[in-house]
C-alpha cells in the first residue's frame, strides 16, 4: 500500500503532535460533521463505507451505530484493552497516531449524540495513558473538546480510564462493568449495550482501530474507502505479525492480502528456514490453520478466512514453524485462558482448568493416550455453553490442533508406541545470555 491510512505516522513525522496533525487536515472531519451534517448522515456515511469492527467480531460499524435506543444520555466507549496474545496494533495507534483515533471517537460520539466518551485502556498502557491525558487536556484548551464546539449546539468531553490487568475487559459488557467500578465480568445479553450499556444507558463500544478509520471515511467519503479491500471486507487493516518470522511487526494492508504476502514477502518467513507448520490468525483465540499452500494463498478477509474454517478476528497472525509441538502450543493457550477466565460461568471456569490440567500432565509425559481423548471430550463440552466468547476461544486452538495434529499429542502419552519426541517445545532459539548478545530470531 503506497499510503498508510491508519498508521499515517509512518508517512508523516511527529503526527502525534496536535499542530502537525492540524497541518494535515486534522479535526476537519470532526468540524465537518458538527457544523454541516446530521447524526443520521454520519451514520449513513459509515454504513456506506462498509467498515467492519476491527476488534475481532467484524460487525458492521454503521449498523452498530444505528442500533441505539432512544434513551439519553448516551455514551461512547473506545475499547483499547488490547490483550489478545499476538495483538499490538492499537498500542501503535495510541502511541503514534492518537489524534486520528480521538477524532474517530469524537465523530462517533457526535453520531450517537453522546456528550461523554471514555477510552478504556489496559492498565499496562500506563505510560501511554499519561501521555494521552495530556493530549486530552490540550484538546480541551484548544477548543476541540468542551461546550458548543465550533459554535454549534454540541458539547463533548473524553476521559481515559485505565483497567488493571484483565483480558476479559476486552469483552464489551465486561468493559462497561469495569468502568462502573465492578469486577470485569460479562453481562448476559440481551440487553445489548446499544440498549442498556454504561450506567444502563445506550452505549456504543468500538475498537480503537475501528474508530481510527472513521475520520478518513468522513474526509474522503465512503466511495473512496471502498476502493480498498474486498467488496464485503472493505478498507485497510493493521495485521500484527509475530512468532516465527524474520520481521515481526505491524503491517497495514488492504483486507484480502494473502497470508503468503504477509508471512513471506513482508515477514521474511521463518528464520529457521523450516516450513510454516501452522498459523494462528486471531491470536490465542484461533482455530489453527495449517501452513499448506491452500492456506498461504488465502486472502486475509473475514469471509475467506471463515471459509477455511478459521476466523480473521483481530488479525493477529502468529506464525509457527515445523519445530513447534502442538501439545506445547495448546498448553500455552490453555494456560492463558485458564488465567483469564473471569470465573462467572461454570463451563469456562472449570473447563479451562481441566484442559490445562490434562495438558500439563501430557507435556510432562505423565498422561495416557486416553487422556488425549479426555481433553477432546472436555473441550467439546465447553464449546457452545459459555456466557461470553472467552470460553469458546479457549477451545478453538485445542480442538483444531487435536483434529489436525493428533500425533503431536499422542506422542507425549506414556503409553505411546513410539518414544515421545525430543522437542517438547519450539526448537531452542539461542538463549540470550548475560553479557552476550545472542540473536533470538535467527
Amino acid at each position: 500500500m503506497a499510503e498508510h491510512i491508519l498508521l499515517r505516522h509512518r508517512d508523516i513525522p511527529d503526527l502525534h503532535k496536535l499542530d502537525v496533525y492540524l497541518q494535515h487536515g486534522g479535526y476537519e472531519a470532526f468540524k465537518k460533521v458538527v457544523t454541516t451534517m446530521t447524526p443520521q448522515q454520519v451514520i449513513d456515511e459509515v454504513k456506506a463505507s462498509g467498515l467492519r469492527g476491527r476488534g475481532g467480531a467484524g460487525f458492521p460499524t454503521g449498523l452498530k451505530w444505528g442500533f441505539l435506543s432512544k434513551d439519553f444520555p448516551r455514551y461512547v466507549t473506545a475499547n483499547s484493552d488490547e490483550s489478545e496474545p499476538g495483538t499490538f496494533k492499537d498500542r501503535e495507534i495510541l502511541e503514534k497516531n492518537p489524534h486520528q483515533f480521538f477524532e474517530g471517537v469524537m465523530i462517533c460520539a457526535f453520531a450517537a449524540q453522546a456528550n461523554v466518551a471514555y477510552n478504556y485502556m489496559r492498565g499496562e498502557f500506563w505510560d501511554i495513558a499519561m501521555r494521552l491525558d495530556k493530549v486530552l487536556a490540550e484538546l480541551r484548551e484548544r477548543g476541540f473538546l468542551g461546550k458548543n464546539l465550533f459554535g454549534a449546539n454540541y458539547s463533548l468531553d473524553i476521559h481515559n480510564h485505565l483497567g488493571a490487568g484483565a483480558y476479559i475487559c476486552g469483552e464489551e459488557s465486561a468493559l462497561l462493568e469495569s468502568i462502573e467500578g465492578k469486577l470485569g465480568q460479562p453481562r448476559l445479553k440481551p440487553p445489548f449495550p446499544a440498549d442498556k450499556g454504561l450506567y444502563n444507558k445506550p452505549t456504543i463500544v468500538n475498537n480503537t482501530e475501528t474508530l481510527t478509520n472513521v475520520p478518513m471515511i468522513i474526509a474522503r467519503g465512503a466511495a473512496w474507502y471502498k476502493t480498498m479491500g474486498t467488496e464485503k471486507s472493505p478498507g485497510p487493516k493493521v495485521f500484527c505479525l509475530s512468532g516465527h518470522v524474520k520481521n515481526p511487526g505491524n503491517y497495514e494492508l488492504p483486507l484480502g492480502a494473502t497470508f503468503r504476502h504477509l508471512i513471506y514477502e513482508l515477514g521474511g518467513g521463518p528464520p529457521s528456514g523450516l516450513k510454516v507448520k501452522a498459523i494462528l490468525t486471531a491470536g490465542a483465540s484461533s482455530t489453527v490453520l495449517t501452513g499448506g499452500d491452500d492456506i498461504l494463498d488465502t486472502p486475509m478477509d473475514y469471509e475467506s478466512v471463515a471459509a477455511k474454517g478459521g476466523a480473521l478476528g483481530s488479525a493477529s497472525i502468529i506464525v509457527l514453524d515445523e519445530s513447534v509441538d502442538m501439545a506445547w502450543l495448546t498448553l500455552k493457550t490453555s494456560r492463558f485462558f485458564k488465567h483469564e477466565s473471569c470465573g462467572k460461568c461454570t463451563p469456562c471456569r472449570e473447563g479451562t482448568y481441566w484442559m490445562l490440567n490434562i495438558l500439563e500432565r501430557l507435556n510432562r509425559h505423565e498422561a495416557k493416550k486416553a487422556d488425549v481423548d479426555l481433553l477432546n471430550n472436555v473441550a467439546s463440552q465447553i464449546a457452545g455453553k459459555c456466557l461470553c466468547p472467552l470460553g469458546e476461544f479457549s477451545v478453538a486452538p485445542v480442538l483444531s490442533s487435536l483434529k489436525q495434529f493428533r500425533a503431536d499429542f499422542d506422542g507425549h502419552a506414556k503409553d505411546a508406541k513410539k518414544p515421545a519426541p525430543a522437542a517438547a517445545r519450539p526448537a531452542a532459539r539461542p538463549a540470550p545470555k548475560a553479557k552476550e548478545a545472542a540473536p533470538a530470531a535467527d
Binding site: 500506563w126 476521559h159 512468532g243
Partner: protein, 169 residues
C-alpha cells in the same frame, strides 16, 4: 489519609464520572492507594470504599479480580516478564529463566534485598519486541523491550535496567 493528602487529585478523578456514579472511580483510587501505601492495605480498602460509596468488601473484590492490584507487600517493584505464546516463540522462557538465575530467585519470588518480585505474565502487546518485560512500582508501569528483532534484549541489558531502578529510589 488519601482524602486529605490527595484532595485535588481525587476531585479530578471523581469529576470524570457522573456525580451519582462515584463507584466508577474505584480503579483509579486503588492506584492512588498503592502509590501511597506500597500496596492496597485493609485500611486503604475502607478509605477507598468511603470515597466512592461502596463497602470495603466490594473494594476487596475489585482488588482480588485485577492482577495489577496487590493486597500484600511484595518487593519494592514487580518485574513482570511476558512468557506468553508470541514471546515464548522468540525465546522469552529461556530469557526469564536466566534472568531469574541472575537475580537469585525462582519465578514468583522476591530478591533477597527486597527490591524485585519477579513474575511471569500474560501477553503485554509487545510481541514484536520480545523478549520484553514491564516494571510496576508505586509510580506506575513501564515497558522495557528489545530494540529490534535483530537486537533482542540480553539478560545483561535487563539487569542493567533493573540496577537503574534501584538507583532511582
Amino acid at each position: 489519609m488519601l482524602a486529605e493528602k490527595y484532595r485535588s487529585e481525587i476531585e479530578t478523578l471523581l469529576a470524570k464520572y457522573p456525580p451519582e456514579q462515584k463507584r466508577s472511580a474505584v480503579m483509579p483510587l486503588l492506584y492512588l492507594a498503592q502509590k501511597e501505601y506500597g500496596y492496597v492495605t485493609e485500611a486503604a480498602m475502607a478509605e477507598v470504599g468511603e470515597l466512592c460509596g461502596i463497602s470495603p468488601t466490594q473494594v476487596a473484590g475489585v482488588v482480588g479480580f485485577y492482577t495489577l492490584y496487590h493486597d500484600h507487600r511484595g518487593g519494592q517493584r514487580y518485574v513482570q516478564i511476558c512468557t506468553d505464546l508470541p514471546c515464548a516463540l522468540r525465546g522469552a522462557e529461556k530469557f526469564a529463566e536466566v534472568l531469574c538465575q541472575n537475580l537469585g530467585v525462582k519465578m514468583g519470588e522476591t530478591t533477597q534485598d527486597g527490591e524485585f518480585t519477579v513474575e511471569e505474565v500474560m501477553c503485554l502487546a509487545g510481541c514484536d519486541k520480545a523478549p520484553m518485560f514491564q516494571v510496576q512500582d508505586v509510580d506506575g508501569i513501564h515497558y522495557h523491550e528489545s530494540e529490534s528483532p535483530e537486537k533482542p534484549m540480553t539478560v545483561a541489558q535487563a539487569l542493567a535496567i533493573l540496577e537503574g531502578y534501584k538507583r532511582k529510589k
